[in-house]
């Protein structure tokens, strides 16, 4: 496969995460600005001496705190995503990594009125691998289904652990629609990435795709 094609796909993925992130942060800032503005309005235009207005101000300050908490949570996910790119290999929690991706892409998925759900197995061990490549692979598979699923559908990300391997299955549930929209990556890209990760990819049914990954990727030949 063409090296350029792979790089372009990976950059598109990172670009998508960053644009969704900045859009989400901007929305939180817009709400914060309106909330602070409303306090100012109540003081300037309202009758702030009344108990009713003071209660209203307390309600708004609580809303501001909630917005700040949500923004902090969101920033934390981007921070984790960024750290995942620092080293080619690291030990990490695969569930945390998938959750990062789910949170960062939530807005673009919600806009298509599709629900992204998780079905994680308990007691998952840490994995020694490349988090960014795994996230990229999951993103590619989720994106493929996003283009084909009608609104009010669901995509489930299920994990299992057996024989020193971690399985991640992407399961679409809903009606399919005809589309000619381009997807960011093709089958060649999946195969290339999965080879680098020392794992395998298989399609059990027409739609259900499973990625199998070794818990530990030690072989230097697998390193990119």
């Amino acid at each position: 496969m063409e090296y350029d094609e792979l790089i372009t796909s990976q950059l598109s993925f990172i670009g998508k995460v960053l644009s969704v992130f900045s859009h989400e942060i901007n929305n939180h800032l817009a709400i914060l600005k309106e909330s602070v503005g409303l306090i100012g309005d109540l003081i300037e235009l309202g009758k702030t001496s009344s108990r009713k207005d003071l209660k209203e101000i307390l309600k708004i300050t609580q809303s501001i705190k909630n917005q700040i908490e949500q923004t902090t949570y969101f920033c934390d996910k981007l921070n984790g995503f960024g750290h995942g790119m620092e080293e080619p290999l690291s030990a990490f929690n695969i569930h945390k990594s998938i959750e990062e991706l789910m949170v960062l892409l939530r807005r673009s998925i919600n806009q298509k009125m599709i629900c992204l759900e998780k079905d994680f197995t308990a007691n998952m061990p840490l994995i020694y691998s490349n988090p960014l490549k795994i996230q990229f692979l999951i993103f590619c598979l989720v994106e493929k289904h996003l283009k084909r699923l009608d609104k009010n559908s669901r995509i489930i990300i299920k994990t299992v652990y057996s024989n020193d391997s971690i399985g991640i299955t992407i399961i679409p549930k809903g009606n399919l629609i005809e589309t000619d929209e381009e997807v960011i990556c093709n089958d060649e890209i999946y195969k290339h990435i999965i080879k680098q990760l020392g794992g395998s990819i298989s399609q059990k049914t027409a739609d259900e795709t499973t990625i199998m990954l070794p818990v530990s990727l030690f072989s230097s030949s697998n390193r990119s």
Binding site: N26, N27, S35, L38, I60, N110, Q111
Partner: protein, 127 residues
């Protein structure tokens, strides 16, 4: 008579707070959080000016704009967007859009745009 403003945004907290702020400035404001509700309101209780979010789940902002303009071409629509104008204009914009305003919103700028839009609506209605 106060200007009737319809805010259409799936961010409930943003839309309701903005509605409250405009109401304090004596606008007759209603906020809806789904594109479908915007279309129903435009039919049942037509506003003078619509503040419309560009990106919403399901029916997008441009689609709502087209439908509102079909219902009543004199209703003026101001697009609420988190993207710079240059990026929005890269998309296929339907005709009939009055103006844009960037999120986070500058209240002074918004008031000027709403008043200008309402003035245009009044001129269109009486011509």
């Amino acid at each position: 008579m106060s200007t009737k403003v319809l805010i259409v945004d799936d961010e409930v907290e943003f839309a309701s707070t903005l509605a409250e702020r405009l109401a304090l400035r004596n606008y007759d404001v209603k906020a809806v959080y789904h594109a479908e509700d915007a279309i129903t309101t435009a039919q049942s209780d037509p506003p003078d000016v619509v503040l419309l979010d560009l990106r919403m789940p399901g029916i997008g902002g441009f689609e709502v704009l087209k439908t509102i303009k079909k219902i009543d071409p004199t209703i003026e629509v101001i697009l609420l967007t988190g993207q710079p104008k240059t990026e929005v204009t890269g998309e296929e914009i339907p005709t009939g859009l009055f103006d844009y305003i960037m999120k986070p919103v500058d209240m002074g700028e918004l008031i000027v745009k709403i008043n200008n839009a309402n003035e245009k609506r009044n001129l269109s209605k009486h011509s």
